[in-house]
Symmetry: C2
Subunit: 246 residues, 2 copies
């Protein structure tokens, strides 16, 4: 854990390091852009912001003005229904864009909470739209990012609608592993930034069930868990579990 001094939650910090030089550029908004459009994106994304663990990037009900790209760290998004129901709708790691769900009603429908000390790039949406009007490949890329979110939400729907607890957790671990790999980290060893309860909320399970399935996986030598530290020992078998109840 880093040891930053306390920072007021809304402290906007203009840091250096442009999109064009960001080492996440191939995962994030700039992916595959021509030089010229990349330069313009650099001009657009000037504000960066730190979030200490537990702080919000935005809250449900906040007016929608910007998208937020995770520059470093880890976030969860949390939907709070009228009827008081509360569910984690996603976990977001470096290079991923949050806030697309706010466009539809000009308000953020969910909370975005940092699960570790993190950094965000703030992308003013109206200005991004302006820019995409002159930058076709950026436009297409924005649409792909939105579409990808739809696809990934639908695959969570599939998971919640048709998988049993073991399959859900296997799919979850494989998904994390794959995203870690895409970021150059080990595919088989990482820290879970979220609690068992948050995993359960995301997967439609109770925390006890998450814990039990982890233990079962450990007994079968599929993984090694110790608190938040996870080692994945047998990816092929996990894959088999996911594809089981076809």
């Amino acid at each position: 854990m880093t040891e930053l001094k306390a920072v007021p939650e809304l402290d906007h910090v203009a840091l250096r390091s442009a999109c064009s030089k960001c080492n996440l550029r191939e995962l994030c908004l700039p992916s595959g852009l021509p030089e010229e459009e990349l330069d313009q994106l650099d001009k657009l994304i000037r504000v960066r912001r730190s979030c200490r663990k537990g702080e919000h990037a935005y809250r449900a009900g906040d007016p929608f003005e910007s998208l937020y790209a995770v520059r470093a760290g880890f976030f969860k998004t949390n939907l709070l229904n009228e009827d008081g129901r509360d569910q984690v709708t996603g976990f977001h790691m470096a290079g991923e864009v949050m806030g697309l769900d706010g466009i539809s009603a000009d308000r953020h429908p969910c909370d975005a909470v940092a699960l570790e000390d993190s950094e965000l790039c703030v992308i003013p949406f109206s200005r991004l739209e302006e820019l995409t009007r002159e930058a076709p490949s950026l436009q297409r890329h924005l649409h792909k990012i939105m579409s990808r979110e739809i696809v990934s939400d639908q695959s969570v729907m599939m998971l919640l609608g048709s998988m049993r607890a073991e399959e859900r957790l296997a799919a979850f671990l494989l998904n994390l592993s794959q995203r870690m790999t895409a970021r150059g980290y080990s595919p088989s060893e990482f820290y879970l930034r979220m609690t068992r309860e948050e995993i359960g909320s995301y997967l439609g399970l109770k925390l006890e069930t998450v814990s039990r399935v982890f233990s079962r996986f450990q007994n079968e030598a599929l993984i090694a868990v110790q608190q938040k530290h996870i080692r994945i020992l047998d990816i092929p078998k996990l894959r088999k579990i996911v594809g089981q109840n076809c």
Copy 2:
């Protein structure tokens, strides 16, 4: 049921009746556009297409080229996973846009199947993108439509992750009712175009459970079901059921 003659599945029919005169325009893509942008949309959306019951608007794996607005009728979209799992990801009525999930990989990830004889407007996506570059309010509206899809998928995630069978079905009926109302139909009396199995697939339940809950609702005088014909008798109580397990 209408009694059209058999029509080849891919028969493209250029019908008249432009977006600007469509009585669904306030629900669909043209919603809230200035005159000029509306005219351009009319020029873009020239191809309309009939789908007989059971026919596909598009299939999983088809190259993505167009969005499809439902002009009349009723569709389901169906995701077929690598591992053979099959799930209904949505039901789509007049004025709703299908195919946004295809942008991300340039292929449609799911099937879209007509559940009754239907008509579609074909919206070539590259040309739509071109047009939105010159039409800011159309651009914003497209983004809102995509964002709305994300929001609605997330509320299905919430439903699947945290509601019990009765709550899911109550929420489902209320959602249908509300969409019927928005289209000028009765909020309390309509035909279900889908089978119990399709409802179950969408809601993460087995068809027997769907049937049992309908029967229970009927016994409690919340609804009157007879096959596909539904009358909703007590909307407030259904709302209470949805908000129960907060």
